[in-house]
Protein backbone atom coordinates (compact mmCIF):
# COMPACT_ATOMS: atom_id res chain seq x y z
CA UNK A 1 0.00 0.00 0.00
CA UNK A 2 1.37 3.41 -0.90
CA UNK A 3 1.55 6.33 -3.25
CA UNK A 4 0.89 5.56 -6.90
CA UNK A 5 1.05 9.12 -8.26
CA UNK A 6 1.30 12.67 -6.99
CA UNK A 7 0.99 16.24 -8.20
CA UNK A 8 1.75 19.70 -6.91
CA UNK A 9 0.46 23.13 -7.81
CA UNK A 10 1.62 26.62 -6.91
CA UNK A 11 -0.45 29.59 -8.04
CA UNK A 12 1.47 31.82 -10.47
CA UNK A 13 1.39 35.02 -8.40
CA UNK A 14 4.13 35.57 -5.83
CA UNK A 15 5.09 38.39 -3.49
CA UNK A 16 8.55 38.92 -2.01
CA UNK A 17 9.57 39.73 1.55
CA UNK A 18 11.00 42.96 0.09
CA UNK A 19 7.46 44.12 -0.68
CA UNK A 20 6.51 43.63 2.98
CA UNK A 21 9.59 45.57 4.02
CA UNK A 22 8.57 48.43 1.73
CA UNK A 23 5.02 48.42 3.08
CA UNK A 24 5.60 47.71 6.79
CA UNK A 25 9.28 48.33 7.40
CA UNK A 26 9.90 44.62 8.04
CA UNK A 27 8.65 41.20 7.03
CA UNK A 28 7.55 39.34 10.15
CA UNK A 29 8.12 35.90 8.60
CA UNK A 30 11.46 34.32 7.59
CA UNK A 31 10.47 33.97 3.93
CA UNK A 32 12.08 35.12 0.69
CA UNK A 33 8.77 35.14 -1.12
CA UNK A 34 5.39 33.43 -0.97
CA UNK A 35 2.64 32.28 -3.29
CA UNK A 36 -0.68 34.04 -3.71
CA UNK A 37 -3.89 32.61 -5.15
CA UNK A 38 -5.22 34.82 -7.94
CA UNK A 39 -8.64 36.42 -7.49
CA UNK A 40 -10.30 33.57 -9.43
CA UNK A 41 -8.52 30.80 -7.50
CA UNK A 42 -9.53 29.11 -4.27
CA UNK A 43 -8.83 25.81 -2.54
CA UNK A 44 -11.28 24.02 -4.89
CA UNK A 45 -9.62 25.20 -8.11
CA UNK A 46 -6.09 24.63 -6.76
CA UNK A 47 -7.06 21.09 -5.70
CA UNK A 48 -8.38 20.37 -9.18
CA UNK A 49 -5.10 21.52 -10.74
CA UNK A 50 -2.98 19.40 -8.39
CA UNK A 51 -5.34 16.45 -8.93
CA UNK A 52 -5.19 16.76 -12.72
CA UNK A 53 -1.39 16.77 -12.57
CA UNK A 54 -1.36 13.63 -10.42
CA UNK A 55 -3.82 11.83 -12.70
CA UNK A 56 -1.88 12.91 -15.83
CA UNK A 57 1.23 11.21 -14.46
CA UNK A 58 -0.33 7.72 -14.48
CA UNK A 59 -2.39 5.60 -16.92
CA UNK A 60 -5.69 7.32 -17.79
CA UNK A 61 -7.86 4.32 -16.88
CA UNK A 62 -6.80 4.45 -13.21
CA UNK A 63 -9.40 7.19 -12.64
CA UNK A 64 -12.12 4.53 -13.08
CA UNK A 65 -10.79 2.65 -10.04
CA UNK A 66 -10.87 5.56 -7.60
CA UNK A 67 -13.13 4.59 -4.72
CA UNK A 68 -12.36 7.40 -2.28
CA UNK A 69 -11.74 11.14 -2.64
CA UNK A 70 -10.66 13.19 0.36
CA UNK A 71 -10.23 16.97 0.42
CA UNK A 72 -8.26 18.89 3.03
CA UNK A 73 -8.08 22.62 3.69
CA UNK A 74 -8.45 25.10 6.52
CA UNK A 75 -10.26 27.42 4.10
CA UNK A 76 -12.71 25.37 2.05
CA UNK A 77 -14.75 27.53 -0.35
CA UNK A 78 -17.91 26.80 1.65
CA UNK A 79 -18.29 26.18 5.38
CA UNK A 80 -21.07 23.68 4.65
CA UNK A 81 -21.02 21.65 1.45
CA UNK A 82 -19.38 18.36 0.46
CA UNK A 83 -16.36 19.82 -1.32
CA UNK A 84 -14.86 16.38 -2.09
CA UNK A 85 -18.03 15.52 -4.03
CA UNK A 86 -17.52 18.49 -6.34
CA UNK A 87 -13.83 17.67 -6.69
CA UNK A 88 -14.56 14.05 -7.61
CA UNK A 89 -16.86 15.29 -10.38
CA UNK A 90 -14.39 17.92 -11.59
CA UNK A 91 -11.69 15.25 -11.92
CA UNK A 92 -13.90 12.82 -13.82
CA UNK A 93 -14.22 10.34 -10.94
CA UNK A 94 -17.47 8.40 -11.11
CA UNK A 95 -20.11 8.94 -8.45
CA UNK A 96 -19.61 5.66 -6.54
CA UNK A 97 -17.01 7.06 -4.14
CA UNK A 98 -16.48 7.68 -0.47
CA UNK A 99 -16.08 11.48 -0.25
CA UNK A 100 -14.51 13.08 2.81
CA UNK A 101 -13.68 16.66 3.77
CA UNK A 102 -10.99 17.35 6.37
CA UNK A 103 -10.75 20.85 7.74
CA UNK A 104 -10.15 23.08 10.79
CA UNK A 105 -6.49 22.15 11.19
CA UNK A 106 -3.24 22.45 9.28
CA UNK A 107 -2.73 18.73 9.77
CA UNK A 108 -5.90 18.05 7.73
CA UNK A 109 -3.85 17.04 4.67
CA UNK A 110 -2.16 14.19 6.51
CA UNK A 111 -5.48 13.26 8.18
CA UNK A 112 -6.94 12.91 4.68
CA UNK A 113 -3.98 10.75 3.63
CA UNK A 114 -4.39 8.43 6.62
CA UNK A 115 -8.16 8.24 6.06
CA UNK A 116 -7.80 7.32 2.38
CA UNK A 117 -5.01 4.87 3.20
CA UNK A 118 -7.32 3.02 5.65
CA UNK A 119 -10.19 3.19 3.23
CA UNK A 120 -8.21 1.74 0.31
CA UNK A 121 -6.63 -0.94 2.54
CA UNK A 122 -10.11 -2.15 3.53
CA UNK A 123 -11.21 -2.48 -0.08
CA UNK A 124 -8.34 -4.77 -1.01
CA UNK A 125 -6.46 -5.06 -4.29
CA UNK A 126 -7.05 -2.68 -7.15
CA UNK A 127 -8.82 0.07 -5.28
CA UNK A 128 -7.48 3.62 -5.37
CA UNK A 129 -8.05 6.73 -3.28
CA UNK A 130 -7.27 10.34 -4.12
CA UNK A 131 -6.12 12.88 -1.53
CA UNK A 132 -6.45 16.53 -2.53
CA UNK A 133 -5.24 19.26 -0.25
CA UNK A 134 -5.07 22.97 -0.91
CA UNK A 135 -4.78 25.90 1.39
CA UNK A 136 -4.57 29.67 1.39
CA UNK A 137 -4.97 30.76 5.01
CA UNK A 138 -5.81 34.39 5.70
CA UNK A 139 -5.08 36.78 8.55
CA UNK A 140 -5.76 40.47 9.01
CA UNK A 141 -3.45 42.72 6.98
CA UNK A 142 -2.37 44.45 10.21
CA UNK A 143 -1.45 41.15 11.90
CA UNK A 144 2.22 40.03 11.60
CA UNK A 145 0.86 36.46 11.25
CA UNK A 146 -0.36 37.50 7.79
CA UNK A 147 3.14 38.08 6.42
CA UNK A 148 4.01 34.38 6.24
CA UNK A 149 0.74 32.96 4.88
CA UNK A 150 1.04 31.47 1.38
CA UNK A 151 -0.91 29.19 -0.93
CA UNK A 152 -0.54 25.94 -2.80
CA UNK A 153 -1.97 22.48 -3.40
CA UNK A 154 -0.88 18.86 -3.54
CA UNK A 155 -2.53 15.65 -4.62
CA UNK A 156 -1.64 12.06 -3.83
CA UNK A 157 -3.12 8.92 -5.38
CA UNK A 158 -3.02 5.98 -2.96
CA UNK A 159 -3.27 2.34 -4.01
CA UNK A 160 -1.83 -1.14 -3.68
CA UNK A 161 -0.36 -1.64 -7.17
CA UNK A 162 2.36 0.30 -9.05
CA UNK A 163 3.39 1.92 -5.78
CA UNK A 164 6.23 4.50 -6.05
CA UNK A 165 6.45 5.15 -2.31
CA UNK A 166 5.27 2.60 0.21
CA UNK A 167 3.35 3.90 3.23
CA UNK A 168 5.11 2.16 6.11
CA UNK A 169 3.33 3.49 9.17
CA UNK A 170 1.95 6.51 10.96
CA UNK A 171 1.62 7.80 14.51
CA UNK A 172 -0.19 10.69 16.12
CA UNK A 173 -0.14 12.78 19.24
CA UNK A 174 -2.59 15.33 20.65
CA UNK A 175 -3.35 17.57 23.60
CA UNK A 176 -5.32 20.69 24.50
CA UNK A 177 -3.41 23.89 23.76
CA UNK A 178 -5.26 27.21 24.11
CA UNK A 179 -4.51 30.40 22.23
CA UNK A 180 -2.27 28.97 19.54
CA UNK A 181 -3.28 29.99 16.00
CA UNK A 182 -7.06 29.66 15.64
CA UNK A 183 -10.03 31.06 13.75
CA UNK A 184 -13.40 31.55 15.42
CA UNK A 185 -16.63 30.50 13.74
CA UNK A 186 -17.78 32.93 11.07
CA UNK A 187 -14.45 34.74 10.85
CA UNK A 188 -12.30 34.71 7.73
CA UNK A 189 -9.03 35.46 9.51
CA UNK A 190 -6.75 33.34 11.67
CA UNK A 191 -5.26 34.88 14.79
CA UNK A 192 -2.53 33.91 17.21
CA UNK A 193 -2.09 35.16 20.74
CA UNK A 194 1.60 35.41 19.94
CA UNK A 195 3.12 33.96 23.11
CA UNK A 196 5.84 32.34 21.05
CA UNK A 197 7.97 30.60 23.66
CA UNK A 198 4.98 28.93 25.30
CA UNK A 199 3.62 27.80 21.94
CA UNK A 200 6.98 26.41 20.82
CA UNK A 201 7.05 24.33 24.01
CA UNK A 202 3.59 22.91 23.22
CA UNK A 203 4.65 22.25 19.61
CA UNK A 204 7.79 20.42 20.69
CA UNK A 205 5.86 18.27 23.13
CA UNK A 206 3.06 17.28 20.70
CA UNK A 207 5.07 17.05 17.47
CA UNK A 208 8.02 15.43 19.24
CA UNK A 209 5.77 12.71 20.65
CA UNK A 210 4.37 11.87 17.20
CA UNK A 211 7.87 11.49 15.71
CA UNK A 212 9.20 9.45 18.67
CA UNK A 213 6.16 7.21 18.60
CA UNK A 214 6.54 6.53 14.87
CA UNK A 215 10.26 5.76 15.25
CA UNK A 216 9.44 3.37 18.07
CA UNK A 217 6.62 1.59 16.15
CA UNK A 218 8.91 1.03 13.15
CA UNK A 219 12.05 0.38 15.22
CA UNK A 220 13.99 3.07 13.40
CA UNK A 221 16.57 5.74 14.14
CA UNK A 222 16.39 9.29 12.73
CA UNK A 223 19.56 8.59 10.73
CA UNK A 224 17.69 5.95 8.69
CA UNK A 225 15.67 8.71 7.00
CA UNK A 226 16.92 10.49 3.90
CA UNK A 227 14.25 13.19 4.02
CA UNK A 228 12.22 14.87 6.73
CA UNK A 229 9.26 17.12 5.88
CA UNK A 230 8.81 19.65 8.68
CA UNK A 231 5.79 21.91 9.30
CA UNK A 232 6.30 25.66 9.63
CA UNK A 233 5.63 26.75 13.20
CA UNK A 234 6.63 30.35 13.93
CA UNK A 235 8.79 30.06 10.86
CA UNK A 236 11.70 27.76 11.55
CA UNK A 237 11.05 26.69 15.13
CA UNK A 238 10.67 23.05 14.00
CA UNK A 239 14.39 22.96 13.15
CA UNK A 240 15.27 22.99 16.86
CA UNK A 241 12.93 20.10 17.58
CA UNK A 242 14.30 18.09 14.64
CA UNK A 243 17.88 18.60 15.86
CA UNK A 244 17.00 17.52 19.38
CA UNK A 245 15.32 14.38 18.02
CA UNK A 246 18.53 13.46 16.20
CA UNK A 247 17.85 14.69 12.66
CA UNK A 248 20.27 16.88 10.71
CA UNK A 249 19.69 19.79 8.38
CA UNK A 250 20.61 17.75 5.27
CA UNK A 251 17.48 15.66 5.92
CA UNK A 252 14.98 18.53 5.88
CA UNK A 253 16.68 21.02 3.52
CA UNK A 254 15.16 19.70 0.27
CA UNK A 255 11.69 19.45 1.79
CA UNK A 256 11.72 22.93 3.35
CA UNK A 257 9.77 24.96 0.81
CA UNK A 258 8.26 27.41 3.35
CA UNK A 259 10.70 30.23 2.55
CA UNK A 260 9.58 30.17 -1.11
CA UNK A 261 5.86 29.35 -0.79
CA UNK A 262 4.94 30.75 2.64
CA UNK A 263 2.91 28.75 5.14
CA UNK A 264 0.67 26.60 2.95
CA UNK A 265 -1.37 25.38 5.91
CA UNK A 266 -3.01 21.99 5.42
CA UNK A 267 -1.31 21.54 2.03
CA UNK A 268 2.18 22.07 3.49
CA UNK A 269 3.12 18.52 4.50
CA UNK A 270 2.05 16.94 1.20
CA UNK A 271 3.63 19.76 -0.82
CA UNK A 272 6.86 19.11 1.07
CA UNK A 273 6.43 15.42 0.26
CA UNK A 274 5.95 16.30 -3.42
CA UNK A 275 9.23 18.28 -3.33
CA UNK A 276 10.91 15.14 -1.98
CA UNK A 277 9.27 12.72 -4.44
CA UNK A 278 10.48 15.00 -7.27
CA UNK A 279 14.07 13.98 -6.47
CA UNK A 280 13.91 10.83 -4.32
CA UNK A 281 15.47 7.58 -5.50
CA UNK A 282 14.47 3.96 -4.85
CA UNK A 283 15.40 2.81 -1.35
CA UNK A 284 15.25 6.28 0.21
CA UNK A 285 13.07 6.90 3.23
CA UNK A 286 10.88 9.92 3.96
CA UNK A 287 9.19 11.07 7.15
CA UNK A 288 6.40 13.62 6.89
CA UNK A 289 5.42 15.53 10.01
CA UNK A 290 2.17 17.49 10.13
CA UNK A 291 1.12 19.78 12.95
CA UNK A 292 -2.20 21.43 13.71
CA UNK A 293 -2.41 24.15 16.35
CA UNK A 294 -4.60 23.45 19.31
CA UNK A 295 -2.99 20.81 19.05
CA UNK A 296 -2.35 17.61 17.15
CA UNK A 297 0.56 16.15 15.25
CA UNK A 298 0.85 13.23 12.89
CA UNK A 299 3.96 11.61 11.43
CA UNK A 300 3.97 9.31 8.39
CA UNK A 301 6.81 7.13 7.15
CA UNK A 302 7.35 6.28 3.48
CA UNK A 303 9.92 4.27 1.51
CA UNK A 304 10.56 4.99 -2.17
CA UNK A 305 10.31 1.84 -4.32
CA UNK A 306 12.01 0.59 -7.49
CA UNK A 307 8.83 1.53 -9.34
CA UNK A 308 9.88 5.19 -9.09
CA UNK A 309 12.35 4.53 -11.92
CA UNK A 310 9.60 4.06 -14.50
CA UNK A 311 7.17 6.65 -13.13
CA UNK A 312 6.80 9.78 -15.26
CA UNK A 313 6.86 12.53 -12.67
CA UNK A 314 4.46 15.49 -12.81
CA UNK A 315 5.70 19.10 -13.25
CA UNK A 316 8.23 19.53 -10.45
CA UNK A 317 7.84 21.90 -7.55
CA UNK A 318 11.34 23.24 -8.17
CA UNK A 319 10.44 24.30 -11.71
CA UNK A 320 7.26 25.91 -10.42
CA UNK A 321 9.25 27.80 -7.79
CA UNK A 322 11.46 29.27 -10.53
CA UNK A 323 8.43 30.40 -12.51
CA UNK A 324 5.65 32.72 -11.43
CA UNK A 325 4.80 36.37 -11.62
CA UNK A 326 5.95 38.83 -8.95
CA UNK A 327 3.29 41.25 -7.73
CA UNK A 328 3.58 44.28 -5.45
CA UNK A 329 1.94 44.67 -2.06
CA UNK A 330 -0.93 46.80 -3.35
CA UNK A 331 -1.79 44.24 -6.04
CA UNK A 332 -1.56 41.58 -3.33
CA UNK A 333 -4.08 43.37 -1.11
CA UNK A 334 -6.43 43.74 -4.07
CA UNK A 335 -6.39 40.16 -5.31
CA UNK A 336 -6.62 38.77 -1.77
CA UNK A 337 -9.55 41.16 -1.32
CA UNK A 338 -8.06 42.66 1.83
CA UNK A 339 -8.70 46.22 0.69
Amino acid sequence: MGIVAYGSYLPACKISAEEYKRAWGACAAPIREKRVPDIDEDTFTMSVEAGRRALSSCPADLVDHIAAVAFASTVPPYEEKCIAGGLAFALGVSGAVYAADHTSSTKAGVEALVNVWNCVAQRGAGGLGLVLCADAPLADAKDPLEHGLGAGAAAVLVGSESVIAELEGHAGSAMEVLGERFRVRGSSVSVDMGVREYMVQAFERVAGAAVSSLLSILGRKPSEYDFLVLPPHYGRSAFGLARRLGFAEAQWRDAWIYDRTGDVGAAGPLLGLAAVLDIAEPGQRVMVLAYGSGAGAHAVSLAVTERMRCYSRPPSLRDQLEQGKAIDYLAYLKIRQML
Binding site: T45, G92, K325, K334, Q337
Partner: protein, 140 residues
Protein backbone atom coordinates in the same frame (compact mmCIF):
# COMPACT_ATOMS: atom_id res chain seq x y z
CA UNK B 1 -26.49 44.14 -17.82
CA UNK B 2 -25.15 40.85 -16.54
CA UNK B 3 -26.00 37.47 -17.99
CA UNK B 4 -27.97 35.85 -15.16
CA UNK B 5 -27.75 32.06 -15.24
CA UNK B 6 -30.06 30.37 -12.71
CA UNK B 7 -28.45 27.65 -10.57
CA UNK B 8 -30.49 24.76 -12.11
CA UNK B 9 -29.39 25.79 -15.61
CA UNK B 10 -25.76 25.99 -14.46
CA UNK B 11 -26.13 22.60 -12.76
CA UNK B 12 -27.26 21.00 -16.03
CA UNK B 13 -24.17 22.24 -17.85
CA UNK B 14 -21.57 21.23 -15.22
CA UNK B 15 -20.00 18.51 -17.39
CA UNK B 16 -19.30 21.13 -20.04
CA UNK B 17 -18.08 23.75 -17.60
CA UNK B 18 -15.88 21.52 -15.39
CA UNK B 19 -14.80 18.80 -17.82
CA UNK B 20 -15.20 20.24 -21.33
CA UNK B 21 -17.55 17.41 -22.34
CA UNK B 22 -18.71 17.95 -25.92
CA UNK B 23 -20.88 15.97 -28.25
CA UNK B 24 -19.19 13.82 -30.89
CA UNK B 25 -21.25 13.22 -34.02
CA UNK B 26 -21.86 9.51 -34.63
CA UNK B 27 -21.95 10.12 -38.39
CA UNK B 28 -19.18 12.59 -39.28
CA UNK B 29 -17.08 12.48 -36.05
CA UNK B 30 -17.04 16.26 -35.52
CA UNK B 31 -17.27 17.51 -31.95
CA UNK B 32 -19.93 20.09 -31.15
CA UNK B 33 -19.35 22.30 -28.11
CA UNK B 34 -21.36 23.48 -26.36
CA UNK B 35 -23.85 20.74 -27.31
CA UNK B 36 -26.50 21.77 -29.81
CA UNK B 37 -29.50 20.02 -31.40
CA UNK B 38 -27.64 19.32 -34.62
CA UNK B 39 -24.01 18.53 -35.41
CA UNK B 40 -22.05 21.69 -36.25
CA UNK B 41 -19.76 19.62 -38.53
CA UNK B 42 -22.17 18.00 -41.00
CA UNK B 43 -25.17 20.18 -40.08
CA UNK B 44 -27.39 17.09 -40.49
CA UNK B 45 -26.86 14.49 -37.80
CA UNK B 46 -28.63 14.57 -34.45
CA UNK B 47 -26.89 11.44 -33.03
CA UNK B 48 -24.08 12.10 -30.59
CA UNK B 49 -21.99 10.48 -27.90
CA UNK B 50 -20.37 12.53 -25.11
CA UNK B 51 -16.61 13.05 -25.31
CA UNK B 52 -14.29 14.76 -22.84
CA UNK B 53 -11.96 17.08 -24.71
CA UNK B 54 -8.23 17.31 -23.92
CA UNK B 55 -8.34 20.96 -22.90
CA UNK B 56 -5.47 21.79 -25.24
CA UNK B 57 -5.74 24.36 -27.96
CA UNK B 58 -4.41 27.64 -29.26
CA UNK B 59 -5.49 31.24 -29.18
CA UNK B 60 -7.52 32.13 -32.28
CA UNK B 61 -8.27 35.72 -31.33
CA UNK B 62 -8.60 37.82 -28.20
CA UNK B 63 -9.55 41.11 -26.65
CA UNK B 64 -8.54 42.90 -23.45
CA UNK B 65 -11.36 44.04 -21.20
CA UNK B 66 -10.53 47.17 -19.22
CA UNK B 67 -12.17 47.99 -15.89
CA UNK B 68 -15.17 49.97 -17.19
CA UNK B 69 -16.02 47.43 -19.90
CA UNK B 70 -16.53 44.44 -17.62
CA UNK B 71 -20.03 43.01 -17.09
CA UNK B 72 -21.18 43.39 -13.46
CA UNK B 73 -20.44 39.78 -12.48
CA UNK B 74 -16.80 40.39 -13.45
CA UNK B 75 -16.47 43.88 -11.97
CA UNK B 76 -14.72 42.63 -8.80
CA UNK B 77 -12.11 40.87 -10.93
CA UNK B 78 -11.71 43.94 -13.18
CA UNK B 79 -11.30 46.21 -10.13
CA UNK B 80 -8.63 43.98 -8.59
CA UNK B 81 -6.71 43.20 -11.79
CA UNK B 82 -7.27 46.40 -13.79
CA UNK B 83 -7.88 44.47 -17.01
CA UNK B 84 -8.18 40.92 -18.20
CA UNK B 85 -7.95 38.91 -21.40
CA UNK B 86 -10.87 37.16 -23.08
CA UNK B 87 -9.92 34.81 -25.88
CA UNK B 88 -11.49 32.83 -28.66
CA UNK B 89 -9.74 29.48 -28.21
CA UNK B 90 -9.37 26.92 -30.98
CA UNK B 91 -9.55 23.56 -29.22
CA UNK B 92 -7.52 20.60 -30.50
CA UNK B 93 -10.76 18.65 -31.12
CA UNK B 94 -12.16 21.38 -33.38
CA UNK B 95 -14.63 23.58 -31.51
CA UNK B 96 -13.86 27.22 -30.72
CA UNK B 97 -14.83 28.52 -27.28
CA UNK B 98 -14.80 31.91 -25.61
CA UNK B 99 -13.02 32.01 -22.25
CA UNK B 100 -10.68 34.13 -20.17
CA UNK B 101 -6.94 33.68 -20.66
CA UNK B 102 -5.16 33.84 -17.29
CA UNK B 103 -1.64 33.71 -15.80
CA UNK B 104 -0.31 35.92 -18.59
CA UNK B 105 0.13 39.67 -18.99
CA UNK B 106 -2.21 41.18 -21.60
CA UNK B 107 0.88 42.51 -23.44
CA UNK B 108 2.35 39.00 -23.73
CA UNK B 109 -0.73 37.45 -25.30
CA UNK B 110 -0.46 36.56 -28.99
CA UNK B 111 -2.62 34.80 -31.56
CA UNK B 112 -1.52 31.18 -32.01
CA UNK B 113 -0.12 30.76 -28.49
CA UNK B 114 -0.63 27.23 -27.12
CA UNK B 115 -3.15 27.10 -24.28
CA UNK B 116 -4.32 24.57 -21.73
CA UNK B 117 -7.58 24.51 -19.82
CA UNK B 118 -7.80 25.33 -16.09
CA UNK B 119 -10.76 25.39 -13.73
CA UNK B 120 -11.30 28.77 -12.07
CA UNK B 121 -13.97 30.77 -10.30
CA UNK B 122 -15.93 32.55 -13.00
CA UNK B 123 -18.13 34.56 -10.63
CA UNK B 124 -20.39 34.17 -7.64
CA UNK B 125 -24.15 34.68 -7.73
CA UNK B 126 -26.90 33.83 -5.24
CA UNK B 127 -24.07 32.82 -2.89
CA UNK B 128 -23.11 30.00 -5.24
CA UNK B 129 -19.60 29.91 -6.69
CA UNK B 130 -19.76 29.38 -10.43
CA UNK B 131 -16.66 27.46 -11.45
CA UNK B 132 -15.80 26.99 -15.10
CA UNK B 133 -13.05 26.78 -17.65
CA UNK B 134 -10.43 29.38 -18.45
CA UNK B 135 -7.14 28.90 -20.29
CA UNK B 136 -3.52 29.48 -19.39
CA UNK B 137 -0.35 29.36 -21.50
CA UNK B 138 0.72 25.76 -22.09
CA UNK B 139 4.40 25.46 -21.36
CA UNK B 140 4.58 21.67 -21.76
Amino acid sequence: MGAHIPVPVYQRSLAQRYLLVGWKCEECGAVTFPPKGVCMGCLRSTRFSPVRMSGRGELYSYTVIAGGGAPPEFSGQARAKGRYVVGLVQLAEGPRVIAQVVDVEPDEVHVGMPLRVVLRRIYEEEGVVRYGFKFRPDSA
